[in-house]
Subunit: 368 residues, 2 copies
């Protein structure tokens, strides 16, 4: 692998100092910000995440905030998910679509109040889309990237560690709910969420002042829990079926293709920008859809581009994420498969830079 | 430096194969695409760029195309530059601003026809901004990221090399003009432009089919010219005063702060989104502005964040790009300086992670 050249354009985070001290070996760039990808090694980080607890610098999940009398209206314009029943205090995963129903982002959004939403954006400049729409439609909403930096605490021992720093009540938080908890005299929003299936929390750290103190407090409180710096893990996220915007789907794909049909209610999503196109897709369902794929025949190479998925010599889809899983002793993968070949049990092949491998379409992801 | 983790989300380019074979050592990520930053070394690459000719994979300059009856109107909405006199066949550098006059991008745009523009975007999702506006204002324009990949040929021997591949006529192209030239029976748009002061061209390669054949043809034709794979060079671009969006300016800054006042005519830019705010700024001029800065006292460290610029203990600006220049034997730098301290000859200090260095505000960049 080549190195990543630092520059101001690739933004550091308020936790970068801690990440560097912990010996980060590799990064990716996410929303033009540093996102660690490897500390000890992808497999070592994976085993640790599944057995202990990790602190993740996920400040790259930038927060786009909508405030004002038309914030709710604008929010509903962004997504085919019906938001009419969402109450303040709730987190929702919202596919965001353009006018043709193509996915522009797949963030977690928090309804802070009737007139206030905060969106944790995946890797695209959602801010520009939202501001462009708001300008064009002349909506009465303030739109900002707020100075909030997320720190995630993930792993089976996350409850224990968080309770030591924020008090026992934090362990009572239900999935996808948030609460306010105190750290060094300041209130912080903490949600039970995160980009792993090991359980855990995301802490919304306002500004930079308390960022490193919080980082250090978590490490001090968790020394006996073997707490380490970590990051979203490629193996663990594929096993758990956590999709990655830009990898597993792009603006070429509708939410239906991404298996998010349960979240799409274009018939109720009044004002949703992609509504017309998505109502059309909903009539018949998508032609291709994301599937968990098992790849056999040895470890696959690093998946840095879409690999063609073949039935004989016919292209029937593509693999977009793939990696060897030590726990399942198989390559776990995510791909987009055409409906003619998406039934569980279908046998296909995938073309990688290191040759062809056998593929089995699975019904479910490995970990749920 | 840490490594960059490859994934599909960080897009490869049709020239990546050539870049890898040439031994690329480091990348940055630009518009979620790989942009090489180092081949032999920043200084070695710099000396070579200034003396020979390089081929650059700048496919990351994604092309946003506007087509349709209202393409010209939308284009003018994006920028305070007066586009009324621009003729088909002309390239223009266009600061693009949001509703408060903050810079969202600073691309080169090409007017292909009365109803067709192509924008070579700097590192932000301009596509989302443009599509959001077009949706909101219900404009009659098609907006796409087109499958066009730029290859730049830069350096004092660029004319010679390009004439060998595209014919002598290409050497007659005037600065910021483009023409159509043939390669392997296909027409390609070639412009005299590029992100260096050494002179050269940018070739708009449609699709992927001819990408590597063109790459190889340039290397075969230029063997005796010592042609090498290269990339925008940090030292050379600072010496020449080439600004970098995301580094030297962000959406916090107006075009006036970026020294682009000569390009701003908000009074004539009818429909420009940032017009009101920019008319206000134009009344008095900006409070801070980009300046070339000379930093002395030894080589500065790598500039990966904004460094505070100080007059005594008072913050009077920031340095956003800085590097040692072998040719000028000084650290060349770009910074944003408040008007109280921006006069050429002003002595300041800059706070870097390796301590303070002396700074001199210069009148002009080193190379023009």
């Amino acid at each position: 692998m080549a190195e990543l050249s630092p520059s101001r354009r690739i933004r550091r985070t308020p936790f970068s100092e801690g990440v560097e001290a912990a010996g980060v070996k590799a990064y990716t760039v996410y929303n033009r910000m540093l996102l660690p990808t490897i500390f000890e090694g992808t497999e070592a980080d994976y085993h640790h995440l599944k057995s202990a607890v990790q602190v993740w610098d996920v400040a790259c999940e930038r927060q786009v905030e909508l405030r004002g009398p038309e914030a709710g209206r604008l929010m509903q314009m962004l997504t085919p998910r019906d938001l009419s029943g969402v109450v303040p205090g709730q987190c929702v995963y919202v596919p965001i679509t353009d006018e043709t129903g193509g996915m522009l982002n797949d963030p977690l959004a928090v309804k802070l109040a009737e007139d206030r939403w905060s969106i944790s954006v995946a890797d695209s400049d959602l801010l520009l889309w939202v501001k462009g729409l708001s300008n064009g439609f002349r909506l009465d909403v303030l739109i900002d990237e707020s100075d909030v930096n997320l720190l995630a605490v993930q792993g089976p021992k996350a409850n224990t560690l968080m309770a030591r720093v924020f008090g026992d009540a934090v362990a009572d938080l239900k999935f996808f709910r948030f609460g306010h908890f105190e750290f060094e005299g300041r209130e912080m929003v903490v949600s039970r969420s995160g980009y792993s299936k090991q359980g855990g929390f995301e802490i919304y750290v306002e500004g930079t002042e308390l960022a490193m103190p919080l980082w250090r407090a978590l490490f001090e409180a968790g020394a006996d829990l073997d707490v380490r710096a970590g990051c979203p893990n490629l193996i663990e996220r594929i096993e758990g079926g956590l999709l990655s915007y830009g990898n597993d789907m792009t603006d070429d794909n509708t939410p239906y293709e991404c298996g998010l049909e349960a979240l799409c209610k274009p018939e109720f999503a009044i004002g949703c920008i992609g509504r017309d196109a998505l109502l059309r897709v909903a009539q018949t369902g998508p032609v291709q859809q994301i599937r968990p794929l098992e790849i056999t025949g040895g470890k696959v190479p690093l998946c840095d581009r879409a690999w063609r998925l073949l039935a004989g010599e016919k292209r029937v889809g593509q693999v977009t994420s793939a990696v060897w899983s030590p726990d399942y002793e198989v390559n776990v993968a995510i791909g987009m498969v055409r409906m003619t070949h998406w039934e569980p049990g279908t046998k296909l092949q995938v073309e990688t830079p290191e040759g062809r491998f056998d593929v089995l379409v699975r019904e479910k992801f490995w970990a749920r």
